[in-house]
């Protein structure tokens, strides 16, 4: 087994374990910390695939910005395991069964395809480097890039308007 395969399986096991713990842990703060571990594992996968720009952006945007925002909100609300609303046992079981059914159906549908054993290029290829992605982003995708700034502006204004205390 090569070092790439060992890293792949290790990162996959870490991502899956942490994803299960996100769903299973009682306290929201632990869920957020496990979700950060998932994001770091996925960034490791991006580095294995030689998509370094996406790996760094994933860490900065997701683990750095979004999860800190979640952590702030949870700590502002002072949520803990005792105040955690619980679903009925049967409903939880039904959710688990339906998620498992979706998993089985997707895996069964994909396992028969002829392309399933195509090889993925790992550790080589310079398409994921910031030089090439920057050229493509600012040449072919300038308009979506500018529109996304308008999206951010509207999201910012929306968040401020929604979060503002109503004067009564």
């Amino acid at each position: 087994m090569s070092i790439t395969e060992i890293l792949f399986w290790g990162l996959s096991a870490l991502a899956l374990f942490s994803a299960v713990m996100v769903v299973a842990s009682k306290s929201p703060v632990y869920s957020i910390l496990y979700l950060i571990v998932v994001f770091f594992a996925i960034s490791g996968h991006y580095i294995l695939l030689n998509a370094q720009f996406l790996a760094i952006v994933n860490i900065i945007v997701y683990a750095g910005a979004i999860m800190v925002l979640f952590l702030f909100v949870v700590m502002l609300m002072n949520l803990n395991a005792e105040s955690e609303p619980k679903k009925h046992r049967m409903l939880q079981f039904a959710g688990l069964i339906s998620g498992g059914c979706l998993f089985l159906v997707l895996i069964a549908a994909i396992s028969d395809t002829a392309q399933a054993s195509n090889m993925v290029q790992m550790g080589s290829g310079d398409n994921g480097l910031i030089k090439n992605l920057g050229m493509v982003l600012f040449k072919d995708y300038v308009l979506p890039f500018e529109i996304s700034s308008v999206l951010f502006l509207s999201a910012m204004i929306g968040a401020v308007v929604i979060g503002k205390k109503e004067r009564s």
Binding site: L16, A19, V20, V23, A51, L79, P85, N118, M122, G128
Partner: protein, 110 residues
Amino acid sequence: MEIKWYIGLAVALFCTGIVGVLTRRNSIIIFMCIELMLNAVNLLLVAFSKMHAASAVVQANPNVVSDAQIFVFFIMVVAAAEVSVGLAIIVMLYRNTHSVDVNFLNRLKN
């Protein structure tokens, strides 16, 4: 690695997110499970782009591989905007009902 292992990993992460959305009632955790599903799809997009980078068809036009990674970048942009608005809605919900239970939201009026 073969593409099937990446598909399996992404499907498993996505289904974990689905199970989380279906079984939890805390709206913050439901929101986090949606982020988990977005990340599973991102990983699959990058894996497919690198699969096509190895195939002979794309060798003539290497920009196709970059396109998928630009898509992932835009998904991250949209996710960041979505999170800011969504968390503002959850904070407003908590301020009005003093709970983050989604079952309080089963009717839009009152």
